[in-house]
């Protein structure tokens, strides 16, 4: 049983980790250029999921669903992801423009609570406009389960992991191959001089928020496919855990955020079988509800030994070159 059992959990961990990784990227990107964490980001994930819900329902009513469908489900899904990413990017741009840009020179603590307040505003707005009840995310594609040598994989899990990795690769292209990406990297090292070589800093900042938010929206829709119930507070604990991934990866590190996201998913998911094995070996009786307690103790331990995270650089923001 053990190999199959481990493989099964590994696949679940990959899926779970891709949500964390996609959200963690938004935290890291914003931190790397502006030296602040956007604490509204978890709620932008929530907004993205709801926008995805609206867009998919709109598309379904437009093109029909079930037997009367004009477009196949996966086309609707791709359109939903693209349109929602685009729309949620604007939410990010508005958050930057209204919440962060006026406070760019303010103390960091003020900017940090701005994020918290924007988060509360988004949650409350959701409750006001949509009534606060849980909503069901439409299943755009039919679930198919494959049995590969005793390991059960659904087409959705494969799709979720592939789409996430695809988006990460696209982000990598954007950062390494475009002038905007180059400007983002430059701002991460020293932002004072960036405008002085003719780069409009506000454009780059807005773009960074837009990309982070678009990735969070993608995570929200993929999450909705896997766990089809949305509620206004879904971004809170999920957002904090993704934030942990961003720190674990190393503040501001893009690659770190991806790897730490998957790693966090892996630690969380693998803790349960580990508990079961320990229970059997030592005839203990630890419940699986100890999962987060144990998983995050492990994360804490890692941070004690690597306080700058996995890929963080041990230099302060003030001390450059």
């Amino acid at each position: 049983m053990t190999v199959n059992f481990l493989m099964q959990n590994l696949i679940n961990a990959l899926q779970w980790g891709s949500f964390y990784a996609l959200i963690a990227l938004g935290y890291s990107m914003v931190y790397s250029i502006l030296m602040l964490f956007n604490f509204a980001h978890g709620d932008i994930f929530m907004v993205g999921a709801y926008i995805g819900l609206g867009v998919s329902l709109g598309l379904l009513s437009l093109f029909g669903s079930g037997a009367a469908a004009v477009l196949p489900g996966w086309v609707v899904l791709v359109l939903t992801i693209l349109i929602s990413m685009f729309l949620t990017a604007f939410v990010g741009i508005i958050v930057e423009r209204v919440g962060y840009r006026p406070l760019r020179e303010a103390p960091r603590a003020s900017a940090a609570i701005t994020g918290l307040m924007i988060g509360i505003i988004l949650e409350t707005a959701n409750i006001l406009f949509l009534g606060g009840s849980r909503l069901k995310f439409p299943q755009l594609i039919e679930s198919v389960t494959y049995n590969i040598g005793g390991v059960y994989v659904t087409n959705k899990k494969i799709m979720i992991v592939l789409v996430s990795i695809g988006l990460m690769l696209a982000l990598h292209q954007l950062i390494t191959r475009t002038k905007w990406g180059m400007a983002m990297r430059a701002m991460a090292y020293d932002y004072v001089v960036v405008p002085l070589v003719g780069v409009p800093m506000n454009t780059i900042a807005a773009m960074t928020f837009a990309i982070g938010s678009a990735l969070a929206a993608a995570a929200g829709i993929l999450f909705g496919l896997a766990y089809p119930v949305l509620d206004p507070y879904m971004g809170v604990s999920f957002g904090w855990k993704a934030f942990v991934a961003a720190i674990l990866g190393g503040r501001g590190s893009i690659m770190g955020a991806c790897i730490a996201g998957f790693m966090l998913g892996f630690i969380e998911i693998m803790t349960v079988p580990a508990i079961q094995i320990m229970n059997r070996l030592f005839s203990l009786n630890i419940g699986s509800n100890f999962r987060d307690l144990i998983a995050y103790s492990i994360v804490l331990l890692i941070l004690i030994f690597r306080p700058h995270g996995l890929f963080g650089q041990a230099y302060s923001a003030k001390l450059r070159l």
Binding site: Q173, M182, Y189, G198, V199
Partner: protein, 257 residues
Amino acid sequence: MPLLHVTDMSHNFGGLQAVSGYNLSLDPGQITGLIGPNGAGKTTIFNLITGIYRPTQGSVEFDGEELVGKKPNETASMGLARTFQEMKLWRHMTVLEHIKMARYSKLSYGLWGAFLDTPKRRLEERQTTDLAMEYLKMFAVDQFADQLVVNLPYGAQRRVEMARAMVIEPKVLLLDEPTVGMTPDEMMAMIEVVRKAHERFNLAIFLIEHRLRVVHELCQHVQALVFGQVLVEGTPTEVQNHPKVIEAYIGQQEVEF
């Protein structure tokens, strides 16, 4: 008509008068020096001219256009380049990337270009790289093109910074203590590099410098700034020997109570 014309510029931080009644007139191809003790407000003047700070009063005209109220990226695009005393390089980017970054506003290919590697992108990338290499050669750092800037010797880092400033094709270059912390050899190399850039582009240069040797070698005109005000200006020799300047640097010989 001067290329850069500052009239009656003042600035205060809170209650502190950092710069008061400052005037400057810089002609094309002219090199003017700005000397003064630490804290005199020299770098503040650079920040005011380039739009990092907005002057409390006064005007800054560049090529006949008012600069006050313009953002740093706008003043840069108009042809005003600068370097920093503490050398603001992007530590984990390559030397070549530093120069390419400064061509930001000249690159026009977008997302599609980047993802699909269109002929337009390839052409622009090649042109930018060629141009960047030309500048790196001019500043004798071309052998480091693909290295991370953090791994370069100090003098070479300084020259990379200068190449980055020059590649935006400025009309005026503001140099903030370009030879600070340099060995005498590195200093001589820097003087040579500045002179070469000056001659080749008929560049106007405004230079903050502590080392009088550098000022003598490069400047036709020098201002001495003390407590945010120009005390004396003239040729390097005049300024250096002026009793007020000596007093500002080494203090009064007799202290009266």
